[in-house]
Amino acid sequence: MLMQINHIVPIEHIITLSCILFCIGVMGVLLRRNAIIILMCIELMLNAVNILFATFSAYNGNPDGQIFVFFIMVVAAAEVAVGLALLVLIYRNTRSVDVSLLDRLKW
């Protein structure tokens, strides 16, 4: 049975940490124009969620959360792979990874 450990750090701190991380990730996605940086920020957001899951599963003593983290990691990896392949494609065509260049599809 999972050992019942008394948590020194109260859960609120960790939740605020992951929320802050999440917000940093969101701001990163919004403000940066370089596609790679945006990818990294999305990864950051996903990791923030991982933290949340891990803490909830640890504090509530329910192992499912941690298993869910693995799923998230796997999917994040797949996503990044596809994303980077896409960026390579765009770089080959436009010689740049600047997101704001690609705005032909409008109105």
Binding site: I15, S18, F22, G25, V29, A35, I38, I42, M45, L46, A48, V49, L52, F53, F56, S57, N60, N62, D64, G65, I67, F68, F71, I72, V75, A78, E79, V82, G83, A85, L86, L87, L89, I90, N93, T94, V99, L102, D103, R104, L105, K106, W107
Partner: protein, 461 residues
């Protein structure tokens, strides 16, 4: 469960066959595999079984939606088959494989009973589509579409995950049933409400409701038309299927954390969607906005969910899907005769291809909600389900379907009444038999189900 297995096998077979010089057999094989899975789906009504330690549960509702998704994909493959005739496509096999994988994701979305399955379903559905969106390498439009879909898709996924984490935190379980029990009690914790809110927002993105619809017009315009059809139909039906089940589970109607948001979003979606659709110049973008408006209508079903709403919900989606496939096949045909997909492509189609354009016309009439079609029945049931204390919602439906006449009939008038001489129409190549079959199938089923809806509605019982 075996449905997913069959689809996966066909996907793998298609991928490998593509490598071993069986190029021309790839498409028919995929279609064959899909129809096989459809037959299995119909036959196996023995036990409404659960699998993966009951993380997937094939209810009757899920069965019908899976069947509809499979049929839509078959029709998309037929359209793809028609395009293959014209120009050799090197990586056709890969695309088919990817589409089949995303179809599995869609089926997962219908049958999930666990949050993980929900998350996996969303991801399996969307990641292959990022690739397909940018499948025509050298066309910047497609690249741009792929990138946009990728960025916004992953952004939305992370928001959904954030919501799921909060829900997990509040309910301490990933299983849908326990979560819904938690949400059905009168007072739910702030965190759970926030979690539900974020999951809702993520799904509003997937479903392309107005504040989060920005990806739809660009992606539909950018991706090659065949796969845009897939986007418009299967992706929408999958996300709506999941969202509808989730919404019902997440809380009784009035004080559910999403109610006020839902009402505002419906109003925004229908009003802004209709108005922007009115002034579109590009046919594909116009259809994108029409799909946004239709998702607004579908969201209206959420306002007062009840048991028999499911069948009307299914009917509306079926009508919308078939009609959109019909119109997209027309766009594919116009592109194949070298026509930029503005509206002038449709001029004179009525004279050059009478039967083909009749089918497309029926699809247009169904979207516009003219009687004797499924579209009308769908709208009628929608109006029936809206209770009269939200009378302004009914006025919204009325007003938007009136204005929708104007932009649907732009194509309609172009086809039949444009005074462009028949000779001026670009050399009207014969429409490929597959396209004819697809449009014929869509138009006929729209009319038949429109006249005899029992045929479809009784399956739900």
């Amino acid at each position: 469960m075996s449905v997913i297995i069959v689809i996966l096998l066909t996907a793998i077979l298609v991928l490998f066959l593509h490598i071993f010089e069986g190029r021309q057999w790839v498409n028919p094989l995929a279609i064959l595999g899909l129809s096989l899975s459809f037959i299995i789906l119909c036959l196996e009504n023995n036990s409404l079984w659960g699998d993966y330690s009951s993380m997937i549960y094939m209810t009757q509702f899920a069965k019908v939606f899976t069947g509809t998704a499979i049929i839509f994909t078959i029709l998309v493959f037929f359209i793809n088959q028609s395009r293959l005739k014209l120009e050799e496509d090197t990586n056709n096999g890969d695309k088919l494989g990817l589409v089949l994988f995303s179809l599995c994701g869609a089926i997962l979305l219908f049958t999930f009973t666990n949050i993980t399955m929900l998350f996996l379903g969303i991801e399996i559905l969307s990641i292959p589509l990022y690739v397909i969106a940018s499948s025509s390498k050298h066309d910047l439009h497609s690249n741009e579409a792929g990138l946009k879909y990728f960025l916004m898709g992953s952004f939305a996924t992370s928001i959904i995950l954030f919501g799921m984490a909060l829900i997990f935190g509040a309910t301490n379980s990933l299983d849908i049933m326990t979560i819904s029990e938690y949400f059905s009690q009168a007072e739910i914790s702030k965190m759970a409400a926030l979690g539900a809110f974020f999951v809702g927002i993520g799904f509003f993105f997937k479903v392309a409701a107005i504040p989060f619809h920005f990806w739809t017009p660009d992606v539909y315009e950018g991706t090659p038309s065949i796969w845009a059809t897939y986007f418009a139909t299967v992706v929408k039906i999958a996300s709506f299927g999941a969202f509808f089940r989730l919404y019902i589970l997440l809380g009784n109607v009035d004080n559910s954390p999403l109610y006020k948001v839902l009402v505002l979003i419906i109003i925004l979606t229908v009003v802004v969607g209709t108005l922007t659709a009115l002034v579109q110049e590009n046919a594909k973008r116009m259809i994108a906005y029409s799909s946004i408006v239709n998702s607004g209508f579908l969201l209206m079903f959420f306002l007062n969910p009840s048991s028999d709403i499911l069948s009307y919900f299914g009917l509306f989606i079926l009508g919308y899907g078939l009609a959109t496939i019909g119109i997209f096949s027309a766009i594919v045909y116009l592109e194949s005769i070298g026509n930029s997909n503005g509206f002038e492509g449709f001029d004179g189609l009525g004279r050059s291809q009478p039967l083909f354009s009749l089918g497309v016309a029926i699809c247009l009439l169904s979207l516009a909600g003219i009687p004797l079609t499924v579209g009308f029945l769908g709208k009628f049931y929608l109006l029936m389900s809206l209770s009269f204390d939200q009378w302004w919602m009914i006025l919204l439906v009325i007003a938007s379907s009136i204005i929708s006449i104007v932009y649907y009939f732009r194509i309609f008038n172009g086809m039949y009444f444009s005074n462009k001489k028949a000779s001026a129409i670009v050399a009207p190549e014969v429409v490929s038999p597959y396209l004819n079959f697809v449009v014929g199938f869509c138009a006929l089923s729209l009319i038949i189900i429109g006249l005899f809806p029992d045929f479809y509605l009784n399956i739900f019982q």
